[in-house]
């Protein structure tokens, strides 16, 4: 596409990057087909092609208002468009640049800024978030329905204990995370039990808190980088000593972000190398299990259970579009004897998308309900996903339990135990 970037940005690194991305777009429109918001709203401005155009206009110096802000805000950053794009347009990067410029150009109302501040400060801090959720859940029956839905529900199975340290030679670190230990404590515990059976000891580094994704996507870049440095500091001694072979991500949203550490901290001389190293050592839990395919199959055979239970899997956008991991969880579940129910439009986002369910509640609700309808079409016994955000968001609208897939593998392995 033809571009003519304005002087204010033309010669900056961000401007050059944006220009290259814009020029790789040929405006074919394929991306609109798989964009969740375009599917809901049917307005060019609510699809990737239209947003690219809005950003282009802004970077070319045209006046922008809350119109551009609204349509950029509505983007879920699910990156389904990048999976579809045949021209290789790095949309998410252009969006990041566009959003940064927009934040400078278009002021936000105080109430929005206050909400963002609260999210920014509360969610990544377990000591605030835990009591807040507890109070919210206590108050839930008294709250109006619209508000009650916003209080996160605990999801997944009841937390069962971590395995006793078995003194395995192989060791990996799981990210404890910010929200996950409070809402779905069983996820990491189940991962630890499964890996234990495979001869890998899973540990957590208590000082590693939030991966930084939350604040990064709330335009609190500096605070996000601090979160990331904190995680790196917590993990680095074990990397240096060779005590762990890698990092296991049980929330694909965090996984995506940790894998970007190298790029995000490349300009920080003190952390650039460490960040790159850690990013390279990071795997989603499904990749770790897939690498242990044969011993896992043997364990499953030994456990002997094959319930044929029907489950519907939703692959989080951060897994299928951002990390481009497709079909791996599905294969693990099938190998463990679960029957996968067909889900229409598997590429569409469930509406969770970080804090999207809070900032765009109407669209998030529609996407959630559509996703639940698609998942429940074949009446599965369980809904399954791979990310804490998707899990709690889906659970907020579902009577059918929503679990993390690792819990199902864990249960299957422990049927006979």
């Amino acid at each position: 596409m033809q571009t003519n970037l304005a002087d204010f940005i033309k010669d900056t690194p961000a401007g050059r990057e944006a220009d290259a991305i814009l020029r790789s777009c040929v405006h074919c429109g394929f991306c609109t087909a798989t964009c969740p918001t375009f599917q809901l709203l049917g307005d060019e401005l609510d699809g990737p092609r239209g947003r690219i155009y809005l950003i282009k206009e802004m970077l070319e110096g045209q006046a922008v208002s809350q119109t551009t802000q609204l349509h950029l805000d509505r983007c879920l950053s699910c990156r389904a468009c990048e999976t579809t794009c045949p021209s290789g347009v790095r949309y998410h990067r252009l969006l990041e640049i566009g959003r940064e410029v927009m934040e400078e150009r278009v002021p936000r109302p105080l109430v929005v800024r206050a909400t963002r501040f609260l999210l920014c400060e509360a969610l990544p801090r377990r000591w605030i978030f835990r009591p807040a959720v507890a109070i919210g859940q206590l108050m839930r029956p008294l709250l109006p329905a619209a508000l009650a839905e916003k209080v996160p529900l605990a999801a997944g199975g009841a937390a069962r204990p971590w395995p006793r340290r078995a003194g395995h030679k192989r060791r990996m670190i799981a990210l404890a995370g910010c929200v996950q230990p409070i809402l779905t404590p069983n996820t990491n515990a189940a991962t630890a039990r499964v890996l234990d059976r495979l001869g890998i000891e899973l540990i957590e580094a208590p000082a590693a808190n939030c991966c930084g994704a939350l604040r990064y996507h709330l335009h609190a870049q500096e605070k996000a980088l601090d979160d990331m440095r904190q995680v790196i500091d917590a993990w680095w001694p074990d990397v240096e000593s060779g005590r762990v072979e890698g990092f296991v991500m049980t929330a694909s949203g965090c996984g995506e972000h940790v894998r970007e550490y190298g790029k995000l901290l490349k300009d920080d001389p003190a952390y650039a190398d460490k960040a790159a190293r850690i990013a390279a050592m990071t795997r989603d839990a499904c990749e770790v299990l897939a690498a242990e395919q044969e011993p896992l199959a043997a364990l499953l055979r030994q456990a002997g259970a094959d319930s044929g239970e029907r489950v519907a899997f939703h692959s989080p956008c951060t897994l299928q579009h951002a990390q481009k991991i497709r079909g791996v969880v599905e294969a693990l579940l099938t190998a463990a004897g679960y029957r996968l129910a067909p889900v229409a439009d598997p590429h569409l986002c469930c509406g969770s998308a970080g804090t999207y369910s809070i900032s765009q509640p109407v669209l998030a609700g529609q996407l959630r309900d559509n996703k639940l309808a698609a998942m429940n079409a074949a009446s599965p016994a369980l809904l399954v996903t791979a990310n804490i955000g998707c899990q709690t968001h889906l659970q907020s609208g579902s009577k059918v339990p929503v679990r993390h897939w690792i819990e199902l593998i864990d249960e299957r392995l422990n049927v006979g135990a």
Partner: protein, 492 residues
């Protein structure tokens, strides 16, 4: 002659504020876009070389709202430009400076899928691929499959008479649509065709297909669904020389075979696609052919055998047959992503769409290569070889002064050659704004005048998509004058 002039003509005098007020009276507030900031992204379709800010963009959600808009525009004599997914490559949905863009993207309901009558009734904003997805549980599908089928809409498909990679055997949109419901410019609801196989009177249904939004605004379409063949397999043949590939195409038809798909890609196209799609194309080939066979397993085995024999006789240097459905889809994925994948090699491209007799494919490819040198622009070639339909992709950089003009001249030269070779300037993309001047190459003034009279039978004041499809007689004369003395003078 300015390329924008036909959508920037000033023969309409519109009072914008009065128009907005009239539209506001009949539409919900969020159904109108009136600020420049929000209309800019609507200024072009898949053909970005042509851009025009519309007067207003309307986003109706149902037929009644479309009707209300059309009635207002008719009353105030305002141009109406219907728009689907805006994936078109000829600028059929380029706005008019004094017109309303009516986006039909919100009319996206699949009203019914009837497996017994093998039909589906859909709104115009339904995507081509989602019709097939909705029909899949009944082992049926919608046959026309333009490369943009993931995004393009049925309304746009009808407007352009869209083709695809399977039309030699399964036909174009016109062969697969049974009924079109729409609005005349005066806002009257009309139905062309019906649920039977024919309708009384003139074949207005055929006329609607490919009418590029110039005759009516489509609000509903009944499409025919086709039973999925039991098996489909595709053969990829590599050739060291494009001439051999061209001969192989004629050879297959001469052998009495009508392949379900027969496509050709040249080296540049292969190199654009393969690194991204990993379809398994031969990067050393000068050209590849994709030949599909479908039917019962016995039928397919027999036909693949006969096709393979022809391909070998024609000098294919390598032949591969898809072994399962996943591989077949992967072989096709490369072809279907070819246009945008060229976007990885170049910031901009123009996609041409001439159709010529098959026997002249190789000759045409040679000529295109010579033109490529003459205009100093690269060109990748993707052909619907079975139909003789060419898609040369002329690569240029719009940020480099002069390149767009060179690309346009290159494209025009290809279209002139297409006519000279006994073909047409457009096989399936439509004339739109892009080829409106070149129409004079293919049609006489009397024929162009006949098109105008036909248009007037539907739209007396010329309000539907003005400036597209058919050039004014004045522009034809200008074009003809400009061509005097050139080697390829148009027919008089």
């Amino acid at each position: 002659m300015s390329i924008e002039s036909s959508v920037a003509d000033r023969r309409f005098t519109v009072d914008r504020q009065a128009l907005i007020a009239s539209l506001r009276a009949v539409l919900p507030e969020q159904a109108l876009l009136v600020e420049e900031e929000e209309m800019r992204p609507y200024e072009c379709d898949g053909l970005t070389a042509y851009r025009q800010l519309p007067l207003i963009v309307a986003l109706p959600a149902d037929e009644a709202q479309v009707q209300a808009i059309v009635k207002v525009c008719h009353a105030l004599k305002v141009p109406v430009v219907a728009r689907g997914a805006a994936t078109g490559l000829s600028g059929g949905a380029t706005p008019h400076r004094d017109g309303v863009v009516v986006s039909l993207a919100k009319l996206k309901k699949i009203i019914s899928v009837d497996p017994v009558s093998r039909t589906a009734v859909v709104q115009p904003g339904v995507r081509n691929l989602s019709v097939s997805e909705a029909a899949a549980p009944y082992a049926l599908y919608y046959a026309p499959d333009p490369s943009s089928q993931i995004a393009c809409t049925i309304g746009g498909n009808v407007a352009e008479n869209a083709g695809g990679v399977h039309c030699l055997k399964y036909g174009l949109t016109v062969h697969n649509v049974m009924r079109v419901r729409g609005l005349t410019i005066d806002g009257e609801i009309v139905e062309f065709g019906n649920a039977a196989l024919d309708a009384p009177g003139y074949d207005l249904l055929a006329l609607m297909n490919g009418s590029e939004g110039l005759l009516a605004v489509i609000t509903e379409v009944t499409v025919r669904l086709t039973p999925k063949p039991e098996l489909a397999q595709v053969v990829i043949a590599s050739f060291g020389d494009v001439r051999q590939a061209g001969d192989a195409v004629a050879g297959i038809i001469a052998a009495g075979i009508i392949p379900a798909g027969l496509e050709m890609m040249d080296r540049k196209a292969i190199h654009a696609v393969e690194p991204y799609v990993n379809a398994g194309y031969d990067m050393d080939a000068a050209a590849i052919l994709l030949c599909e066979s479908d039917g019962t397993p016995e039928e397919v085995a027999e036909e693949i055998g006969r096709m393979t024999a022809v391909l070998e006789q024609s000098g294919a240097s390598g032949i591969r047959v898809s072994q399962d459905e996943a591989e077949r889809l992967r072989f096709w994925a490369g072809r279907k992503a070819a246009f945008p994948a060229v976007g990885r090699m170049t910031p901009d491209y123009l996609c041409m769409d001439g159709t010529i007799p098959r026997k002249r494919l190789a000759e045409m490819l040679d000529a295109i290569n010579r033109l490529s040198e003459k205009y100093a622009l690269r060109c990748a070639n993707v052909f619907h070889a079975g139909d003789g339909n060419l898609h040369p992709l002329i690569m240029y950089d719009a940020n480099q002064p002069g390149e767009l003009d060179r690309a346009l001249a290159f494209g025009a030269a290809i279209l002139e050659l297409s006519v000279k070779f006994g073909g047409t300037i457009t096989g399936e993309h439509g004339v739109g704004i892009e080829k409106v001047d070149v129409m004079a190459e293919q049609f006489s003034l009397a024929e162009i005048a006949a098109f105008h009279r036909l248009k007037a039978a539907f739209d007396e004041h010329g309000l539907l998509n003005p400036g597209k499809g058919v050039p004014t007689l004045a522009r034809c004369r200008e074009y003809t004058l400009a061509r005097v003395g050139s080697a390829t003078s148009p027919r008089s």
